[in-house]
């Protein structure tokens, strides 16, 4: 107890009682209140990246991640009457675009687009997300290639749109030149062409890849040479028929 304070006994009894009563009433009222109910609402229009930057007070990395949490809480909230499958994906893509423009080095918006939103059952919504990923990739291919690779896989396996998958795979191969881009990503187009039965084009691409000398791993080189032989065999058997 501080020397500047009087003892507790100096407080009048009525004040003790009043304090205890008020505290009890406060706790009772709060305990009787029902838990907060979720309100159904649609996603508001996306803000401009400049507005997000202005609101960030010079902390774009922090505001970008907070905005992602807002978006995530909005659509993944258990109590939300409109789960993310029903949201307007054009607006959603606008939000992701604004957040990515606010902090272009963050992987969060592209992760959410590729791994959460693009996985919806609705093909139209999936295509909106894939288009967002593709546009974002074109701005910074060497950093954002993993998301385009995932988009190509989704286009191939989920949408069964081999043309779209091939376009993504071709852009990935053509526009990336960073040393950390793995060969499997660069070889994607070959396998998609093979699935499309475009054996001649696949053979040319594969042969070109082997000739560049970029393949360092001997096992990978052996595997692709074997693949090339198989393609040639299939081509020759096809031409004999």
């Amino acid at each position: 107890m501080s020397a500047h304070q009087r003892p507790l006994a100096a407080v009048p009894v009525w004040l003790w009682a009043a304090f205890a009563t008020c505290l009890g009433v406060q706790i009772a009222i709060q305990a009787m209140r029902p838990p907060p109910a979720a309100t159904a609402s649609d996603l508001p229009p996306a803000p401009r990246a400049a507005a997000l930057r202005a609101a960030s007070l010079g902390e774009p990395a922090a505001i970008a991640r907070l905005a992602m949490l807002y978006l995530q809480a909005f659509d993944l909230g258990a109590g939300n009457a409109r789960p993310y499958q029903q949201l307007d994906f054009t607006v959603l893509a606008g939000w992701l675009r604004a957040i990515l423009d606010t902090d272009p080095r963050s992987a969060y918006p592209l992760f959410a687009a590729a791994r959460i939103y693009a996985e919806v059952e609705d093909p139209a919504r999936c295509r909106v997300m894939l288009a967002f990923i593709h546009r974002s990739f074109l701005q910074d291919p060497n950093r954002r290639w993993p998301w385009l690779a995932h988009a190509a896989l989704l286009a191939k396996h989920r949408l069964k749109d081999l043309q779209l998958a091939r376009r993504y795979a071709a852009d990935l191969e053509r526009l990336t030149n960073a040393p950390d881009v793995p060969m499997w990503a660069k070889q994607m187009e070959i396998f998609i062409l093979e699935d499309m039965n475009e054996l001649e084009a696949a053979k040319i691409l594969l042969g070109g890849l082997l000739e560049t000398g970029h393949l360092q791993d001997p096992a990978e080189r052996r595997f692709l040479e074997q693949k090339l032989k198989e393609l040639e065999k299939r081509l020759s058997s096809g031409s004999r028929q």
Binding site: R48, A50, A51, R53, A54, A55, S56, L57, G58, E59, P60, A61, A62, R65, L66, M68, L69, Q72, A73, D103, R105, S106, A107, Y108, F111, A112, R115, I116
Partner: protein, 254 residues
């Protein structure tokens, strides 16, 4: 010991004996706790989220704490007539002002050190060191602004509001300029006038959005040119605030 150093030491002692260290500790706990909580909600980049949020909250919180402390200390001294007593001694106004600024600057650097330490959980020591140095100089600028407004306005609330207002306006100004030049803005004369006012205001403010960036903790230390420009901005504006404060202090009739 030189009188300005004695004054600086008394400032630090006053801060140490006040509630400032405890409030700073509470701020640290609250910011780190909130960042840890929100990182549990994130589906990716949880480490980056913690670092960015903790850094942003602690940076703003430290600036507010220091501004409030400077204003309260200077106004209390003026009300208690300590200022008159000090100036009755063989001590020039410039030395008194410099001593106070050194003291508050030292408190700012101590705060910056305490805030930078937990950043080592998420970022490399090199990045944290540069971020911490930038934060220390940013808090020195806040101390200079707080001192200027406290001496000029002579009231706790006006001094805090002015310092915090200047600080947040300086941090938001680049974003406000971007908004004013956005593609959706029309080309009416009112718009052009508003843009002119914003640009003119920006000339009078430091670019605080370019200093102590949480990106330095997230994506690696800045280059020498970027860091040098950030530090230069802070030092130049701190010198400007000192000059303005001294100008007003020398003109005052006590």
């Amino acid at each position: 010991m030189r009188p300005e150093l004695l004054l600086a030491r008394s400032c630090v002692t006053e801060a140490r004996r006040s509630a400032l260290p405890w409030i700073a500790l509470g701020l640290l706990g609250a910011a780190l706790g909130l960042a840890a909580f929100l990182s549990q909600v994130a589906v990716t980049e949880s480490r980056e989220l913690q670092a960015a949020l903790a850094a942003a909250l602690l940076r703003a919180g430290a600036a507010f704490l220091l501004a409030a402390h400077v204003a309260a200390s200077i106004v209390r001294e003026a009300n208690d007539k300590v200022l008159e007593l000090a100036l009755a001694l063989p001590l020039s106004r410039t030395r008194y002002y410099a001593g106070k600024l050194c003291g508050f600057g030292a408190i700012g650097f101590a705060l910056a050190g305490a805030i930078s330490a937990p950043m080592l959980l998420w970022a490399s020591p090199g990045s944290v060191m540069l971020w911490g140095v930038s934060l220390g100089l940013e808090l020195l600028l806040v101390a200079a602004a707080g001192l200027f407004f406290s001496v000029t306005l002579a009231g706790v609330v006006p001094a805090i509001v002015s310092t915090v207002g200047l600080y947040f306006l300086a941090r938001a100004m680049a974003g406000i300029q971007l908004l004013a030049r956005g593609p959706l803005t029309d080309e009416s004369w009112t718009q052009a006038a508003a843009r002119g006012v914003v640009d003119a205001l920006a000339l009078l403010l430091p670019r605080l959005d370019a200093v102590t960036r949480s990106e330095w903790l997230l994506y690696g230390a800045p280059g020498a040119a970027e860091f040098g420009a950030a530090i230069g901005t802070l030092l130049i504006y701190t010198a400007l605030l000192c000059a303005a404060g001294l100008f007003d202090f020398h003109r005052r009739n006590l």
